[in-house]
């Protein structure tokens, strides 16, 4: 096991280098930036002379690509992502203060989608082909086809504010007077603000996880050991939960890592709609202001996080299923 994990970690290095190289080339070869070196360019209206100086210095736009890449890589490893064009604060610090919100948002969404998706998938598998299965499949399919931002808009319209139901707050991560609240009220206020964003982020992965859960459960129910368990007269409840479900869960556990890139992309939209001060909003604001250091810093971070989540999936897979051995 240790050998396997070590080998996987070693294999990570070239991919990590590839990610940094791709990010760097994106910055370097972007038409706007190439033109910037010579002054002007299509971005000139959005960027001040000072920012231009900073760009050239930060990404060594005036040096040959290999030299500039090596320099930049060295700084990245020291976690120096440059400073924002907009407020001149360090990109790493800006990301650090916004990361917890996004992590909790995505984490809550993953957790919630598992909690709902697995029972749905199991019920659909047990009632295979019946009306229950068909209606669950149809609803899941409907959810799967509905973009998150559309759901967010509809929820905002009908549940938060507006002329219909006014149950939940529309914007922000806390009320304006949150600082004056006692801790319990503050937590409740935060939860109220997070309900809609989490719901919008949850249901897309909920659809795909419940489909996986259904297929996995069907596979598991068709196995010999389930038939054996039934043949020796075990109660159906026991067969389903102790034998079939446990084995069906193995492939599902790792699925969330595949959902992660979509969830991070979804977080950009959801945070923008609900004005949540998270990473996604940081990225979006940077994009609007053409704040390249922040933009590339967040892009690089999401790529690295995704890479590590793929690694985690592979390792988890070996850990949960003793039948698989890669040693």
């Amino acid at each position: 096991m240790t050998t396997y994990i070590l080998r996987r970690l070693l294999l990570l290095i070239p991919t990590l280098l590839g990610i940094t190289l791709l990010t760097f080339l994106l910055i370097r070869l972007a038409p706007g930036n190439a033109a910037m070196l010579h002054g002007g360019g299509p971005n000139s209206r959005a960027i001040t002379a000072e920012a231009r100086e900073q760009m050239i210095k930060l990404y060594d736009l005036d040096k040959p690509i290999p030299v500039a890449y090596a320099d930049w890589l060295g700084r990245i490893f020291r976690l120096d992502l440059g400073t924002s064009f907009v407020d001149h604060r360090s990109v790493a610090a800006k990301i650090a203060e916004r990361l917890p919100l996004t992590v909790s948002l995505v984490g809550a969404a993953v957790l919630l989608s598992y909690l709902i998706a697995i029972p749905l998938g199991v019920v659909a598998a047990l009632k295979r082909g019946q009306a229950t299965d068909r209606s669950i499949s149809f609803v899941v399919f409907l959810l799967y086809s509905l973009p998150g931002f559309v759901v967010a808009l509809l929820l905002l319209m009908f549940v938060a504010g507006g002329d219909y139901l006014n149950l939940l707050p529309m914007y922000g991560s806390n009320s304006i007077n949150a600082d004056a609240m006692n801790p319990a009220a503050w937590v409740w206020d935060r939860i109220e603000h997070m309900v809609l964003p989490v719901v919008c982020l949850t249901y897309a992965s909920l659809a795909s996880i419940s489909r996986y859960a259904r297929v996995s459960m069907l596979d598991s129910l068709a196995q010999d050991f389930v038939r054996t368990a039934r043949a020796k007269g075990l109660p159906e409840k026991f067969v389903v939960f102790r034998h079939a479900l446990r084995n069906a869960l193995i492939p599902i556990i790792t699925i969330f890592t595949l959902e992660l890139p979509g969830l991070i992309g979804g977080a950009v939209i959801i945070e923008e709609i609900f004005s949540l001060p998270g990473m996604g909003q940081l990225y979006f604001l940077a994009l609007e202001a053409r704040d390249t250091p922040v933009m590339m810093g967040t892009t690089l971070l999401t790529a690295v996080v995704t890479l590590f989540s793929y690694l985690l999936a592979d390792i988890l897979y070996v850990v949960v299923d003793p039948r698989i051995s890669y040693a």
């Binding site: 070239p14 991919t15 590839g18 990610i19 791709l22 994106l26 910055i27 972007a30 038409p31 706007g32 930036n33 360019g41 299509p42 971005n43 295979r128 399919f141 409907l142 799967y144 086809s145 509905l146 973009p147 931002f149 559309v150 808009l153 509809l154 905002l156 319209m157 504010g161 507006g162 002329d163 489909r211 259904r214 297929v215 069907l218 992660l260 890139p261 979509g262 991070i264 992309g265 979804g266 950009v268 939209i269 923008e272 709609i273 990225y283 979006f284 994009l287 609007e288 053409r290 390249t292 933009m295 590339m296 967040t298 892009t299 999401t302 790529a303 690295v304 995704t306 890479l307 793929y310």
Partner: protein, 382 residues
């Protein structure tokens, strides 16, 4: 149209796929909806326009709608029927004779020349108040035409209501369908071309090429799709025209397909038939194009169908975030973006484009599911 009742023994692969596809009710409806949407999108200038289709001025019949058409619409009007005609008559047009080709070239040259020499008339006039005989399109408003009727709720006058500048939402929806459908289709075509080429090369030649391509796919897969697309658009700094968006979506979404094609090719290369072809002296290109590709086409088609759905979703997300098409071009995501600010009272601004996106994506997904079951029944979700 069905082959049911025919000799099932003699149906070929695609006939079988089509028969199985037709048996799937949802798939059939999905395909019907998609075709209907394409027809509506193609005819958009004739269905929603402020100019009359036909009107009579001083006893003369005129068609004021035609001078307002953009060059791309003329091309569409001429080239699509030309292509259909050419395809239908392909057997009668003396095979291998150069005359039909010459005729086609002449038509294309004449069209392009005329279009280059004339400019569309961009008058903001409309024929709604014209008193004489006229035949208006079903929606007598153009998508970019503003009026004083701001935030009119849906009524017989404005089927889907109007927005802050008094533009007719129904007209914008119809013209927006062109944006969404064409971006979805073209972006996915680009993605299929890149994915099949790279995946095919990796699966067929293996070795160093395979390792290089797989590594590249692995790296690209680490970037969340929306983030990658936004960063490319953000960095490119160019005006966001339709082709930039198509290219960016297409060039960032091919990795899944490349993996699939690589897997298929690895499986197929080991089978006897490509080896037999090789033994008969066939070259690599011949084996790939004539033997391997046709056998991998089913899964490619399935994946491409789902891909169109996700490309449409990405396009609408981009427009929604304000990184899509330039302002006057109508798009569903753009209407939704506008809806955000007036969400507390103007429900129609959100409802209609949201339904359109839902219906389109759902139809593509239904077709994809039905195709998957038809192409390979073993893949069916039991």
């Amino acid at each position: 149209m069905t082959t049911r009742g025919h000799d099932l023994q003699h149906e070929d692969y695609w006939q079988r796929v089509w028969r199985r596809f037709e048996e799937n009710t949802f798939g059939r409806y999905g395909l019907g909806v998609i075709i209907a949407l394409f027809v509506l999108a193609a005819l958009a200038p004739f269905l929603a326009n402020s100019h009359a289709l036909v009107r009579v001025v001083d006893g003369h019949l005129s068609c004021p709608i035609f001078p307002s058409l953009e060059p791309i619409e003329w091309r569409f009007l001429i080239y699509v029927p030309l292509a259909v005609l050419f395809y239908e008559l392909r057997l009668r047009l003396l095979p291998r004779s150069s005359i039909p080709f010459a005729l086609v070239l002449v038509v294309i040259a004449a069209t392009e020349l005329t279009l280059a020499l004339t400019h569309p008339v961009n008058d903001s006039s409309n024929d709604r108040d014209f008193a004489g005989f006229k035949l208006m399109p079903p929606i007598p408003y153009s998508p970019v035409e503003s009026s004083t009727e701001q935030f009119a709720p849906p009524s017989w006058r404005h089927l889907c209501g109007t927005d802050i500048t008094g533009r007719d939402i129904a007209a914008r929806m119809l013209h927006g369908a062109r944006t969404s459908l064409s971006i979805g289709f073209v972006a996915q075509t680009i993605s299929v071309l890149v994915g099949v080429t790279l995946g095919g090369l990796a699966g067929y030649f293996r070795g160093v090429l395979d390792i290089a391509i797989c590594r590249f796919i692995e790296i690209l897969d680490c970037f969340p799709p929306l983030i990658l697309i936004l960063v490319v658009i953000g960095l490119s700094g160019s005006q966001n025209n339709m082709f930039v968006i198509m290219a960016v979506i297409g060039l960032t979404s091919w990795t899944g397909l490349a993996r699939l094609v690589r897997g298929e090719f690895l499986r197929l290369v080991g089978q006897p038939f490509p080896q037999a072809a090789k033994a008969l002296g066939a070259g690599n290109a011949h084996i790939i194009i004539r033997h391997l590709l046709p056998n991998a086409l089913g899964p490619i088609l399935v994946s491409a169908t789902f891909g169109v759905a996700s490309a449409i979703l990405i396009e609408s997300s981009l427009s929604f975030l304000g990184f899509g098409m330039q302002a006057p071009t109508p798009s569903w995501g753009d209407i939704l973006n506008e809806a955000r600010y007036y969400i507390d009272f103007a429900w129609w601004l959100a409802f209609f484009p949201a339904s359109a996106i839902l219906i389109t994506i759902m139809s593509y997904n239904f077709v994809g599911e039905a195709l998957r079951d038809a192409v390979d029944p073993r893949l069916k979700l039991k």
